[in-house]
Protein backbone atom coordinates (compact mmCIF):
# COMPACT_ATOMS: atom_id res chain seq x y z
CA UNK A 1 0.00 0.00 0.00
CA UNK A 2 1.48 3.30 -1.04
CA UNK A 3 1.16 6.13 1.39
CA UNK A 4 3.19 9.24 1.73
CA UNK A 5 3.18 12.19 4.03
CA UNK A 6 1.41 14.51 1.67
CA UNK A 7 -2.31 14.90 1.40
CA UNK A 8 -4.16 15.71 -1.79
CA UNK A 9 -3.47 19.40 -1.70
CA UNK A 10 0.22 18.68 -1.28
CA UNK A 11 0.56 20.16 2.19
CA UNK A 12 3.05 18.73 4.60
CA UNK A 13 1.59 16.23 7.01
CA UNK A 14 -0.37 17.71 9.90
CA UNK A 15 -3.12 16.67 12.24
CA UNK A 16 -6.48 16.77 10.47
CA UNK A 17 -8.97 18.82 12.47
CA UNK A 18 -8.59 20.32 15.90
CA UNK A 19 -6.20 18.83 18.48
CA UNK A 20 -8.81 19.34 21.21
CA UNK A 21 -11.36 17.30 19.28
CA UNK A 22 -8.72 14.60 19.04
CA UNK A 23 -8.43 14.63 22.83
CA UNK A 24 -12.14 13.92 22.99
CA UNK A 25 -11.87 11.21 20.31
CA UNK A 26 -9.01 9.45 22.10
CA UNK A 27 -10.72 9.68 25.51
CA UNK A 28 -13.80 8.23 23.91
CA UNK A 29 -11.87 5.41 22.29
CA UNK A 30 -10.39 4.64 25.73
CA UNK A 31 -13.93 4.43 27.11
CA UNK A 32 -14.90 1.94 24.42
CA UNK A 33 -11.76 -0.09 25.12
CA UNK A 34 -13.14 -0.33 28.68
CA UNK A 35 -16.44 -1.49 27.25
CA UNK A 36 -14.65 -4.20 25.26
CA UNK A 37 -12.80 -5.25 28.41
CA UNK A 38 -15.99 -5.38 30.48
CA UNK A 39 -17.64 -7.44 27.77
CA UNK A 40 -14.68 -9.83 27.41
CA UNK A 41 -14.54 -10.38 31.18
CA UNK A 42 -18.29 -10.94 31.38
CA UNK A 43 -18.17 -13.36 28.51
CA UNK A 44 -15.38 -15.33 30.19
CA UNK A 45 -17.64 -15.89 33.20
CA UNK A 46 -20.64 -17.13 31.24
CA UNK A 47 -19.83 -17.95 27.60
CA UNK A 48 -22.96 -20.06 27.19
CA UNK A 49 -25.37 -17.33 28.25
CA UNK A 50 -23.55 -14.84 26.04
CA UNK A 51 -23.78 -17.21 23.09
CA UNK A 52 -27.50 -17.87 23.60
CA UNK A 53 -28.16 -14.14 23.86
CA UNK A 54 -26.01 -13.40 20.82
CA UNK A 55 -28.09 -15.79 18.73
CA UNK A 56 -31.14 -13.63 19.44
CA UNK A 57 -29.55 -10.66 17.64
CA UNK A 58 -30.33 -10.00 14.00
CA UNK A 59 -26.97 -9.92 12.18
CA UNK A 60 -28.65 -8.73 8.96
CA UNK A 61 -29.49 -5.42 10.61
CA UNK A 62 -25.96 -5.22 11.99
CA UNK A 63 -24.51 -5.78 8.53
CA UNK A 64 -26.85 -3.20 7.03
CA UNK A 65 -25.76 -0.67 9.63
CA UNK A 66 -22.10 -1.36 8.93
CA UNK A 67 -22.60 -0.73 5.22
CA UNK A 68 -24.64 2.41 5.93
CA UNK A 69 -21.93 3.92 8.13
CA UNK A 70 -19.09 2.95 5.76
CA UNK A 71 -20.88 4.57 2.83
CA UNK A 72 -21.81 7.64 4.84
CA UNK A 73 -18.12 7.93 5.80
CA UNK A 74 -17.12 7.86 2.15
CA UNK A 75 -19.24 10.93 1.43
CA UNK A 76 -17.83 12.60 4.52
CA UNK A 77 -14.33 12.18 3.05
CA UNK A 78 -15.58 13.72 -0.19
CA UNK A 79 -17.13 16.66 1.65
CA UNK A 80 -13.80 17.36 3.35
CA UNK A 81 -11.95 17.08 0.03
CA UNK A 82 -14.41 19.50 -1.58
CA UNK A 83 -13.98 21.97 1.28
CA UNK A 84 -10.19 21.87 0.83
CA UNK A 85 -10.54 23.16 -2.73
CA UNK A 86 -13.20 25.66 -1.58
CA UNK A 87 -15.91 23.90 -3.60
CA UNK A 88 -18.98 25.09 -1.73
CA UNK A 89 -21.54 23.21 -3.84
CA UNK A 90 -19.56 19.98 -3.63
CA UNK A 91 -19.13 20.33 0.12
CA UNK A 92 -22.85 20.84 0.63
CA UNK A 93 -23.88 18.06 -1.73
CA UNK A 94 -21.60 15.55 -0.02
CA UNK A 95 -22.66 16.68 3.45
CA UNK A 96 -26.30 16.13 2.50
CA UNK A 97 -25.45 12.64 1.19
CA UNK A 98 -23.49 11.88 4.38
CA UNK A 99 -26.54 12.87 6.41
CA UNK A 100 -29.13 11.13 4.24
CA UNK A 101 -27.27 7.82 4.10
CA UNK A 102 -26.24 8.13 7.74
CA UNK A 103 -29.83 8.60 8.90
CA UNK A 104 -30.53 5.08 7.64
CA UNK A 105 -28.56 3.98 10.69
CA UNK A 106 -31.16 5.55 12.99
CA UNK A 107 -34.04 3.86 11.17
CA UNK A 108 -32.40 0.44 11.34
CA UNK A 109 -31.45 0.94 14.98
CA UNK A 110 -34.97 1.97 16.00
CA UNK A 111 -36.39 -1.04 14.13
CA UNK A 112 -33.88 -3.30 15.86
CA UNK A 113 -34.56 -1.93 19.34
CA UNK A 114 -38.33 -2.16 18.92
CA UNK A 115 -38.08 -5.75 17.64
CA UNK A 116 -36.08 -6.60 20.74
CA UNK A 117 -38.58 -4.93 23.06
CA UNK A 118 -41.50 -6.66 21.26
CA UNK A 119 -39.75 -9.99 21.80
CA UNK A 120 -39.64 -9.20 25.52
CA UNK A 121 -35.90 -8.53 25.52
CA UNK A 122 -34.71 -5.56 27.55
CA UNK A 123 -31.87 -4.16 29.62
CA UNK A 124 -32.42 -6.65 32.41
CA UNK A 125 -32.84 -9.81 30.29
CA UNK A 126 -29.22 -10.88 30.71
CA UNK A 127 -25.82 -9.35 31.27
CA UNK A 128 -25.20 -9.67 27.54
CA UNK A 129 -28.27 -7.60 26.77
CA UNK A 130 -27.42 -5.04 29.44
CA UNK A 131 -24.12 -4.51 27.62
CA UNK A 132 -25.73 -4.75 24.20
CA UNK A 133 -28.20 -1.97 24.98
CA UNK A 134 -25.63 0.06 26.91
CA UNK A 135 -22.86 -0.04 24.29
CA UNK A 136 -25.09 0.36 21.25
CA UNK A 137 -27.13 3.00 23.11
CA UNK A 138 -24.05 5.05 24.00
CA UNK A 139 -22.84 4.54 20.44
CA UNK A 140 -26.22 5.75 19.20
CA UNK A 141 -25.84 8.87 21.31
CA UNK A 142 -22.51 9.48 19.56
CA UNK A 143 -24.30 9.03 16.26
CA UNK A 144 -27.01 11.51 17.24
CA UNK A 145 -24.42 14.12 18.27
CA UNK A 146 -22.67 13.48 14.95
CA UNK A 147 -25.89 14.17 13.06
CA UNK A 148 -26.21 17.44 14.98
CA UNK A 149 -22.61 18.34 14.11
CA UNK A 150 -23.21 17.53 10.42
CA UNK A 151 -26.32 19.72 10.35
CA UNK A 152 -24.29 22.52 11.90
CA UNK A 153 -21.62 22.06 9.20
CA UNK A 154 -24.30 22.24 6.53
CA UNK A 155 -25.38 25.63 7.89
CA UNK A 156 -21.76 26.77 8.06
CA UNK A 157 -21.03 25.50 4.54
CA UNK A 158 -23.89 27.65 3.25
CA UNK A 159 -22.94 30.77 5.15
CA UNK A 160 -19.23 30.84 6.05
CA UNK A 161 -16.16 31.58 3.95
CA UNK A 162 -14.49 28.43 2.61
CA UNK A 163 -11.23 29.29 4.35
CA UNK A 164 -8.69 27.47 6.49
CA UNK A 165 -10.90 27.85 9.54
CA UNK A 166 -13.81 26.17 7.79
CA UNK A 167 -11.54 23.33 6.65
CA UNK A 168 -10.47 22.78 10.25
CA UNK A 169 -14.11 22.69 11.33
CA UNK A 170 -15.15 20.18 8.71
CA UNK A 171 -12.07 18.03 9.32
CA UNK A 172 -12.91 17.91 13.03
CA UNK A 173 -16.51 16.94 12.38
CA UNK A 174 -15.30 14.44 9.75
CA UNK A 175 -12.93 12.74 12.20
CA UNK A 176 -15.73 12.56 14.74
CA UNK A 177 -18.07 11.04 12.16
CA UNK A 178 -15.42 8.45 11.27
CA UNK A 179 -15.11 7.70 14.99
CA UNK A 180 -18.80 6.79 15.03
CA UNK A 181 -18.06 4.50 12.08
CA UNK A 182 -14.97 2.84 13.51
CA UNK A 183 -16.52 2.18 16.92
CA UNK A 184 -19.37 0.40 15.17
CA UNK A 185 -16.87 -1.60 13.08
CA UNK A 186 -15.57 -3.10 16.36
CA UNK A 187 -18.94 -3.39 18.14
CA UNK A 188 -20.62 -5.22 15.27
CA UNK A 189 -18.44 -8.37 15.17
CA UNK A 190 -17.98 -8.41 18.95
CA UNK A 191 -21.72 -8.41 19.64
CA UNK A 192 -23.20 -10.09 16.57
CA UNK A 193 -20.63 -12.33 14.93
CA UNK A 194 -18.42 -14.03 17.51
CA UNK A 195 -19.75 -17.59 17.56
CA UNK A 196 -18.80 -19.69 20.56
CA UNK A 197 -16.52 -22.58 19.58
Amino acid sequence: MVQDNLNQTGQASRLPGDSGVWTFIIADMAAFAMFFLVFALGRMEAPDIYELSRQKLDPNLGLLNTLILLTSSLFMVRAVDAARIADRAGTMRNLVLTLLIGSGFAITKVAEYSAKIDAGIGLTTSEFFMYYFAFTGIHFLHFAIGVGALLMMLVKARRDAMDERFVQWIESVGCYWHLVDLLWIMLFPMLYLMRAG
Binding site: T23, F24, A27, A31, M34, L123, M130, Y131
Partner: protein, 238 residues
Protein backbone atom coordinates in the same frame (compact mmCIF):
# COMPACT_ATOMS: atom_id res chain seq x y z
CA UNK B 1 -2.90 48.32 31.35
CA UNK B 2 -6.26 46.72 31.96
CA UNK B 3 -8.28 47.19 35.11
CA UNK B 4 -6.96 45.76 38.31
CA UNK B 5 -8.30 42.34 39.16
CA UNK B 6 -8.60 41.57 42.83
CA UNK B 7 -7.27 38.03 43.12
CA UNK B 8 -7.19 37.85 46.91
CA UNK B 9 -8.59 34.56 48.30
CA UNK B 10 -8.63 32.95 44.83
CA UNK B 11 -5.82 30.56 45.70
CA UNK B 12 -7.39 29.59 48.99
CA UNK B 13 -10.67 28.87 47.24
CA UNK B 14 -8.93 26.93 44.45
CA UNK B 15 -7.20 24.72 47.00
CA UNK B 16 -10.62 23.74 48.35
CA UNK B 17 -11.02 21.48 45.28
CA UNK B 18 -8.24 19.00 46.13
CA UNK B 19 -9.18 19.32 49.82
CA UNK B 20 -12.73 18.31 48.95
CA UNK B 21 -11.57 15.28 46.95
CA UNK B 22 -9.34 14.04 49.78
CA UNK B 23 -11.89 14.58 52.55
CA UNK B 24 -14.70 13.13 50.47
CA UNK B 25 -12.66 10.03 49.70
CA UNK B 26 -11.65 9.46 53.32
CA UNK B 27 -14.93 10.32 55.06
CA UNK B 28 -17.66 9.52 52.59
CA UNK B 29 -15.69 6.76 50.91
CA UNK B 30 -13.73 4.89 53.54
CA UNK B 31 -15.65 5.66 56.77
CA UNK B 32 -19.02 5.49 55.01
CA UNK B 33 -18.30 2.22 53.15
CA UNK B 34 -18.93 3.91 49.83
CA UNK B 35 -15.54 3.37 48.19
CA UNK B 36 -16.43 0.93 46.79
CA UNK B 37 -20.09 0.65 47.83
CA UNK B 38 -21.93 -2.48 48.88
CA UNK B 39 -23.00 -4.50 45.87
CA UNK B 40 -26.70 -4.05 45.01
CA UNK B 41 -26.91 -7.81 45.50
CA UNK B 42 -25.64 -7.65 49.08
CA UNK B 43 -28.40 -8.91 51.41
CA UNK B 44 -30.17 -6.29 53.53
CA UNK B 45 -28.91 -8.03 56.68
CA UNK B 46 -25.30 -7.52 55.61
CA UNK B 47 -25.71 -3.80 54.94
CA UNK B 48 -27.77 -3.28 58.10
CA UNK B 49 -25.33 -5.29 60.20
CA UNK B 50 -22.43 -3.21 58.96
CA UNK B 51 -24.24 0.04 59.77
CA UNK B 52 -25.03 -1.22 63.27
CA UNK B 53 -21.43 -2.26 63.91
CA UNK B 54 -19.90 0.87 62.44
CA UNK B 55 -22.49 3.50 63.31
CA UNK B 56 -20.02 5.93 64.85
CA UNK B 57 -17.64 5.66 61.93
CA UNK B 58 -20.43 6.42 59.48
CA UNK B 59 -21.72 9.28 61.66
CA UNK B 60 -18.26 10.83 61.82
CA UNK B 61 -17.64 10.26 58.12
CA UNK B 62 -20.90 11.83 57.02
CA UNK B 63 -20.63 14.76 59.43
CA UNK B 64 -17.21 15.67 58.03
CA UNK B 65 -18.27 14.94 54.43
CA UNK B 66 -21.29 17.23 54.82
CA UNK B 67 -19.15 19.92 56.43
CA UNK B 68 -16.72 19.85 53.54
CA UNK B 69 -19.31 19.44 50.74
CA UNK B 70 -19.42 23.24 50.15
CA UNK B 71 -15.66 23.10 49.47
CA UNK B 72 -16.57 21.79 46.01
CA UNK B 73 -18.72 24.83 45.37
CA UNK B 74 -16.03 27.20 46.70
CA UNK B 75 -13.56 25.58 44.32
CA UNK B 76 -16.03 25.87 41.43
CA UNK B 77 -16.35 29.61 42.08
CA UNK B 78 -12.57 30.03 42.01
CA UNK B 79 -12.38 28.31 38.62
CA UNK B 80 -15.26 30.49 37.41
CA UNK B 81 -13.28 33.61 38.40
CA UNK B 82 -10.56 32.56 35.97
CA UNK B 83 -13.20 31.85 33.32
CA UNK B 84 -14.46 35.43 33.81
CA UNK B 85 -11.07 36.62 32.56
CA UNK B 86 -11.58 34.57 29.39
CA UNK B 87 -15.18 35.21 28.37
CA UNK B 88 -16.26 38.18 30.49
CA UNK B 89 -18.10 38.57 33.76
CA UNK B 90 -21.66 38.26 32.52
CA UNK B 91 -21.07 35.36 30.15
CA UNK B 92 -23.64 32.59 30.47
CA UNK B 93 -20.90 29.93 30.66
CA UNK B 94 -19.55 31.59 33.82
CA UNK B 95 -23.00 31.54 35.37
CA UNK B 96 -23.61 27.92 34.40
CA UNK B 97 -20.21 26.84 35.70
CA UNK B 98 -21.11 28.44 39.04
CA UNK B 99 -24.56 26.96 39.43
CA UNK B 100 -23.27 23.58 38.25
CA UNK B 101 -20.72 23.63 41.08
CA UNK B 102 -23.27 24.89 43.60
CA UNK B 103 -25.89 22.33 42.66
CA UNK B 104 -23.29 19.56 42.91
CA UNK B 105 -22.86 20.48 46.58
CA UNK B 106 -26.57 19.77 47.14
CA UNK B 107 -26.34 16.40 45.42
CA UNK B 108 -23.63 15.49 47.93
CA UNK B 109 -25.32 16.94 51.03
CA UNK B 110 -28.69 15.26 50.62
CA UNK B 111 -27.59 11.65 50.00
CA UNK B 112 -25.04 12.02 52.80
CA UNK B 113 -27.93 12.81 55.14
CA UNK B 114 -29.59 9.52 54.08
CA UNK B 115 -26.50 7.50 54.96
CA UNK B 116 -26.35 9.45 58.21
CA UNK B 117 -29.98 8.61 58.92
CA UNK B 118 -29.21 4.92 58.47
CA UNK B 119 -26.43 5.23 61.07
CA UNK B 120 -28.39 7.42 63.51
CA UNK B 121 -30.54 4.74 65.19
CA UNK B 122 -29.75 1.55 63.29
CA UNK B 123 -31.02 -0.72 66.06
CA UNK B 124 -34.52 0.72 65.74
CA UNK B 125 -34.62 0.36 61.95
CA UNK B 126 -35.44 -2.93 60.19
CA UNK B 127 -32.81 -4.32 57.81
CA UNK B 128 -34.79 -3.46 54.71
CA UNK B 129 -35.10 0.16 55.76
CA UNK B 130 -31.36 0.58 56.18
CA UNK B 131 -30.90 -1.02 52.79
CA UNK B 132 -33.50 1.37 51.36
CA UNK B 133 -31.73 4.42 52.77
CA UNK B 134 -28.44 3.13 51.38
CA UNK B 135 -30.01 2.52 47.94
CA UNK B 136 -31.79 5.87 47.98
CA UNK B 137 -28.59 7.73 48.70
CA UNK B 138 -26.76 5.94 45.90
CA UNK B 139 -29.54 6.42 43.38
CA UNK B 140 -29.56 10.14 44.12
CA UNK B 141 -25.81 10.72 44.11
CA UNK B 142 -25.36 8.80 40.84
CA UNK B 143 -28.37 10.08 38.95
CA UNK B 144 -27.58 13.68 39.89
CA UNK B 145 -24.70 13.41 37.40
CA UNK B 146 -26.31 15.89 34.99
CA UNK B 147 -25.93 18.67 37.54
CA UNK B 148 -22.17 18.25 37.50
CA UNK B 149 -22.22 17.84 33.72
CA UNK B 150 -23.57 21.41 33.50
CA UNK B 151 -20.41 22.59 35.24
CA UNK B 152 -18.15 20.36 33.13
CA UNK B 153 -19.70 21.49 29.85
CA UNK B 154 -19.78 25.18 30.79
CA UNK B 155 -16.12 25.22 31.87
CA UNK B 156 -15.11 23.21 28.79
CA UNK B 157 -16.94 25.39 26.30
CA UNK B 158 -15.92 28.56 28.12
CA UNK B 159 -12.20 27.82 28.27
CA UNK B 160 -12.16 26.77 24.61
CA UNK B 161 -12.94 30.41 23.77
CA UNK B 162 -9.54 31.44 25.19
CA UNK B 163 -7.63 33.21 22.41
CA UNK B 164 -4.37 33.65 24.33
CA UNK B 165 -1.27 32.13 22.73
CA UNK B 166 -1.04 29.88 25.77
CA UNK B 167 -4.61 29.54 27.07
CA UNK B 168 -5.27 29.50 30.81
CA UNK B 169 -6.68 26.00 30.54
CA UNK B 170 -5.16 23.84 27.79
CA UNK B 171 -7.44 22.73 25.03
CA UNK B 172 -7.06 19.06 25.89
CA UNK B 173 -8.23 19.66 29.46
CA UNK B 174 -11.27 21.62 28.29
CA UNK B 175 -12.21 18.77 25.97
CA UNK B 176 -11.46 16.19 28.63
CA UNK B 177 -13.98 17.91 30.91
CA UNK B 178 -16.60 17.89 28.18
CA UNK B 179 -15.94 14.19 27.67
CA UNK B 180 -16.31 13.49 31.41
CA UNK B 181 -19.66 15.28 31.44
CA UNK B 182 -20.70 13.24 28.46
CA UNK B 183 -19.51 9.90 29.90
CA UNK B 184 -21.56 10.47 33.05
CA UNK B 185 -24.60 9.47 31.00
CA UNK B 186 -23.68 5.83 31.67
CA UNK B 187 -25.14 6.43 35.15
CA UNK B 188 -28.58 6.26 33.53
CA UNK B 189 -28.09 2.48 33.39
CA UNK B 190 -27.28 2.19 37.08
CA UNK B 191 -30.90 1.75 38.30
CA UNK B 192 -31.30 -1.19 35.92
CA UNK B 193 -28.14 -3.01 36.94
CA UNK B 194 -27.67 -5.15 40.05
CA UNK B 195 -24.34 -6.59 38.95
CA UNK B 196 -21.76 -6.04 36.24
CA UNK B 197 -20.01 -2.93 35.00
CA UNK B 198 -23.01 -0.59 35.12
CA UNK B 199 -24.08 -1.44 38.67
CA UNK B 200 -23.37 1.17 41.37
CA UNK B 201 -20.23 -0.76 42.38
CA UNK B 202 -19.32 -1.71 38.81
CA UNK B 203 -16.13 -1.18 36.85
CA UNK B 204 -17.63 1.56 34.71
CA UNK B 205 -20.30 3.23 36.78
CA UNK B 206 -18.29 3.34 39.96
CA UNK B 207 -14.57 3.04 39.32
CA UNK B 208 -14.24 4.82 35.99
CA UNK B 209 -16.94 7.46 36.52
CA UNK B 210 -15.71 8.58 39.94
CA UNK B 211 -12.07 8.38 38.92
CA UNK B 212 -12.32 10.51 35.77
CA UNK B 213 -14.14 13.20 37.75
CA UNK B 214 -11.86 13.11 40.82
CA UNK B 215 -8.79 13.38 38.58
CA UNK B 216 -10.24 16.36 36.73
CA UNK B 217 -10.56 18.43 39.94
CA UNK B 218 -6.86 18.59 40.95
CA UNK B 219 -5.66 19.01 37.35
CA UNK B 220 -8.01 21.94 36.82
CA UNK B 221 -6.91 23.32 40.19
CA UNK B 222 -3.31 23.31 39.01
CA UNK B 223 -4.20 25.38 35.94
CA UNK B 224 -6.45 27.66 38.00
CA UNK B 225 -3.54 28.45 40.33
CA UNK B 226 -1.22 29.06 37.38
CA UNK B 227 -3.82 31.27 35.70
CA UNK B 228 -4.25 33.28 38.90
CA UNK B 229 -0.54 34.15 38.83
CA UNK B 230 -0.77 35.09 35.15
CA UNK B 231 -3.82 37.28 35.76
CA UNK B 232 -1.93 39.10 38.51
CA UNK B 233 0.98 39.68 36.14
CA UNK B 234 -1.31 40.84 33.32
CA UNK B 235 -3.24 43.25 35.49
CA UNK B 236 -0.73 44.16 38.15
CA UNK B 237 -0.90 42.68 41.63
CA UNK B 238 -4.36 43.21 43.07
Amino acid sequence: MADKVDTRYWRFCAWMGPVFVLVFYACWGVLGHNFPPFSPEAPAAEVAGWFRDNRNGVRLGMVIAMTFAPAYGVWGYAVAKVLEQVVGKDHIMVQLARVGAAWTVITILIPSSFWLTAAYRPDALPDWMIQMLYDMAWLLIDLAYAVTSVQLFALGVGFLADKRAVPFVPKWLAWYGIWVGFMFIAECLMPFAFSGAFARDGGLNFWIEFLIWMVWVPILTFYTLKATTRIEQEHGAG
